[in-house]
Symmetry: C2
Subunit: 184 residues, 2 copies
Amino acid sequence: MDTNKNWKILKSEYLYREPWFTVRKECVELPNGHQIPSYYVLEYPDWVNVIAVTREKQFVFVRQYRHGLGQINFELCAGVCEKKDATPLIAAKRELMEETGYGNGIWREYMILSPNPSTHTNLTHCFLAEDVEKTNRQHLEETEDLSVHLLSFEEVKQLLYAGEIKQALMAAPLWKYAAHQLML
Amino acid sequence: MDTNKNWKILKSEYLYREPWFTVRKECVELPNGHQIPSYYVLEYPDWVNVIAVTREKQFVFVRQYRHGLGQINFELCAGVCEKKDATPLIAAKRELMEETGYGNGIWREYMILSPNPSTHTNLTHCFLAEDVEKTNRQHLEETEDLSVHLLSFEEVKQLLYAGEIKQALMAAPLWKYAAHQLML
């Protein structure tokens, strides 16, 4: 069904290859013959986030300052798949434990999203973890400064309707979850 | 409720200031005193997208190759707020008309999302446009190569459940729309 095909890469060079910032600049040719001399592609490892729900049906959220937007908002626990993480599931379990101290529970992959298919090479694996429980203390990295909040589903719905879940990679699985709950 | 405060910017410089790629590198200090010597912030203008529905309840989708992910997927019509666009609504109407030839209808802002509050300075304004109709031909730019597809709500739901709406900024408003339809 697609007449449109992939672009041809005529030239590709790395501008930056740093741990948190890897950028390729490419000269590309479109199927219609038009060339884009400078197309920028951001390379990241895959990301994870998790809708974590306790046995008491409390949702584990965090609040955290985010420097791009310059705001503090409610967020799902989220992070990066590190080299030591054999799978996205292991990365998500590690992040939830480190950031919040919650573990155990029944986990499943809930959605796979692209942060931005135009510019980003990576995917985000969104998990749903039910019946989690607090088993440890937070173990934050020096660069993490976040607080943990347990919310009822009513409170989560209020955040969704008020537009307070700003991060698209989190709003999508939360609205999917809300759609499923409303169907039941 | 927030003990965590904004970061202090100790140094800020532009690495790139190109039309499609503007990056600041900053040295920042966290409230706990920890410094991050190289934090990268991506500056973009605001973006828009639109769930466009015809009088016949057909949803206007596009398919387009996206070079970051290297895939062709179903997407909502989307674009960038240009300097000439006085408001995000005007930008969204312009993009829908250029990319698909659809116009008129009843428009409202449906969600405001952040592509990534850690790294991106901009927001995405998601619109819902009902009762749109085809009034013109497509007027694609040289760098655009996309096809227009009219889908039923059943087909949209199938795409959502199959995980074929990959772009988070589009999956979020579509799942919100699905949640609302399921509630009715």
